[in-house]
């Protein structure tokens, strides 16, 4: 495992190079491209805002901010997994012709989505600043939360990208799983609306724990009476689960890697 990480590190330039490529292709090489990529979360935000603050009336102030503060981090997960799933198969040509540690491909997708997430956060900060949100108060926690989430996202992406090589129809399943995960995480609703007995199960999902943090940092900071940080036990569990998923994902990937070339 350690030698694998060493080798991965020796290829870090390639990892960054492929990450840049992903972003370039995504934005088609223009700043306008980035704003174009914002369209998707904005539209989703508009739709849910309409549904939950006008039709169903959850009674949440600034529902758009409430939603987007967790929607963006969740998109980091779901985009990485959705694009990552097919990445090994899609890069079959490359894998068939040139040797390099294959985990670079899914990891470059995760990194590209992480970069995109950063850009979106900057856009969010601007909006929050204009609206007078004091998002800077807990900002120092943010890097840690993102780091832990990065491990979780990488682990899941590594697993799905390697399994998809052997079961091509996994891709379709992943869409459904991600949808269940989305609704099982307090993105469009607050955790407080969930009945007490389900809350514990939901907290086993690290994404729930991350979303509590994200929402505190960006949204509840303006409604201090609602601020409620998770207990240390819950936090530790999220960290352990995330790291476990990462190492498991890496392990599975490395075990399956030798057979990628011939299966593609």
């Amino acid at each position: 495992m350690i030698s694998n990480f060493k080798k991965l590190f020796s290829y870090h330039e390639l990892l960054f190079s492929l990450t840049r490529k992903e972003l370039k292709v995504k934005y088609r090489g223009s700043a306008l491209g980035f704003f174009w990529s914002l369209l998707n979360p904005i539209l989703v935000m508009l739709v849910y805002s309409f549904v939950f603050s006008i039709v169903m009336r959850l009674g949440i102030k600034h529902y758009a901010i409430f939603l987007i503060s967790v929607l963006l981090p969740f998109n980091f997960l779901s985009n990485s997994v959705n694009y990552g799933a097919n990445s090994i198969v899609a890069n079959g040509n490359l894998i068939n012709k040139i040797y390099f540690p294959r985990e670079i491909i899914p990891l470059s997708i995760v990194l590209a989505n992480l970069t995109n997430f950063f850009f979106e956060l900057i856009a969010l900060f601007i909006v929050l600043g204009i609206m007078g949100y004091k998002f800077y108060i807990y900002l120092h926690i943010l890097p840690l939360v993102i780091l832990v989430q990065f491990f979780l996202v990488s682990g899941v992406t590594l697993v799905v990208s390697s399994l998809t090589v052997f079961f091509r129809d996994l891709q379709h399943l992943i869409g459904i799983i991600m949808m269940i995960w989305f609704f099982g995480t307090p993105v469009i609703y607050p955790l407080s609306m969930v009945p007490e007995k389900f809350q514990f199960i939901m907290k086993a999902n690290p994404m729930t724990v991350f979303s509590i943090f994200y929402r505190n940092i960006f949204y509840y900071v303006n409604y201090p009476e609602e601020l409620q940080f998770p207990t240390l036990k819950v936090i530790l569990m999220a960290v352990v689960v995330s790291l476990f998923v990462f190492f498991l994902g890496y392990f599975v990937f490395k075990k399956l890697e030798p057979r990628f070339t011939e299966e593609i």
């Binding site: 492929l18 490529k21 068939n96 012709k97 052997f166 129809d169 057979r259 070339t261």
Partner: protein, 462 residues
Amino acid sequence: MLEESLASQNGIVTNTNSTYIDTDGNSTVAVDVRSISKIFRIYHGKNPSLKDAILKGKRVTYEEFLALDNVSFSVYKGETFGIIGPNGSGKSTLLKLIARILVPNSGEIVINGSVSALLELGAGFHADLTGRENIYINAAILGMKKREIDKKFDEIVRFSELERFIDTPVKNYSSGMYMRLGFSVAINVNPDILLVDEVLAVGDQAFQSKCYQVIYDFMRRGKTIIIVSHDLETISDLCKRVAFLKNGKIEDIGNPIVVINKYRSYIEEMERKRIIEQQKEERKKIFKSLVEGERKVIDGEEIDKLSRVSINGEVVNRFGSGDAEIKRIRLVDKDGKDVDFCKYGDEVNIVMDVLFNTEVEDPIFGIRITDHRGNIVYGTNNRLNNIRSGTFKKGDLVKVIFSQRIVFIGGTYFVSPSVGYKDTKTYCDWVNNMLTINVIHHNRAEGIADLNSEITIEKISS
């Protein structure tokens, strides 16, 4: 499924303590392939699907295909090594194993030095990105650091001659331009060991000769090169040693002339078998049409087709009455030693031993020499030279010597000896391609014969 996936393991060793050490304490083996086997799975039906695996509990069924079977060889440092063989013999698989793209099922490959594989040019180019962007990405994939790429960037562009298009997305490139860019990046990676699979024939004539210059340059700088190609001329020009791969096994390895000849005769053999099959089919067709059409007449073309195969369907390699039998034919050098090759200009004897089974009056002893394409290069006999052979009785063993100077261009030639009756139309014995002669020659000429021209160049006026 998973269980089995977990079983395979990395068989590549990057060497530290090789057993091949030269006097300077450096290892002299660049690539050591040790008992490598590679098994592919051929799945039945479409790709294994999760749905079938889970819902129907269906196990994935597949056949195993042994693409490489216990292959071992070493390539020495600074050597240019060729791999030849028919389609599907495992050449690309072997290169991919050396390049670590595939992992062997058993055996190991020890590699001394950095490897770069030219298995496909422009692999991983992204159509939407420009030539410049793709150079950076492709070079990084091939293992170059950003700093090195910066340094080599201009050289890469210059070599590809695509200066004007370097900021154009590669989707607008012609396929030749695409390949040129790919080649330019690949050769600037500067590995110790270069693997080349059928990619030398890219671009137009001018670019191709540039590619060969690069390969020669690599050779001069003492790099190790392993080339896979179907172009036997290229292989014999470039390689110091050649391996002939057949059905995943090494059929022969060593001197290019010898190995390439073996491969050529194998191809010819296969080609002959194919022709025989084809002719059998034609015979069947002709007979069928005769029966069905209730025809009694066979037209000339059909006779020709029917007569090209013997009754049992084999191409006739030997024919004649058998009154005399060619027992043996040898190539003998001027010291009287049996040889199987000679140099251009050598005096050699072709010696045949003939045994007579009945009395034959004035038989004609002849030889015919053909090149590897079957063209008749030369033929002679005692009658053409106005030599009467005399009468031979049953049981006579006769030695016939043809002495000549070999003035052929380098290559392989086949000798077909014959003993004919004095009517010049029928034969006691005729054996096709009984003797093979390899002629070694520095290629200063093309064609079949070297007339050894002296060339003078004078200026008449200015």
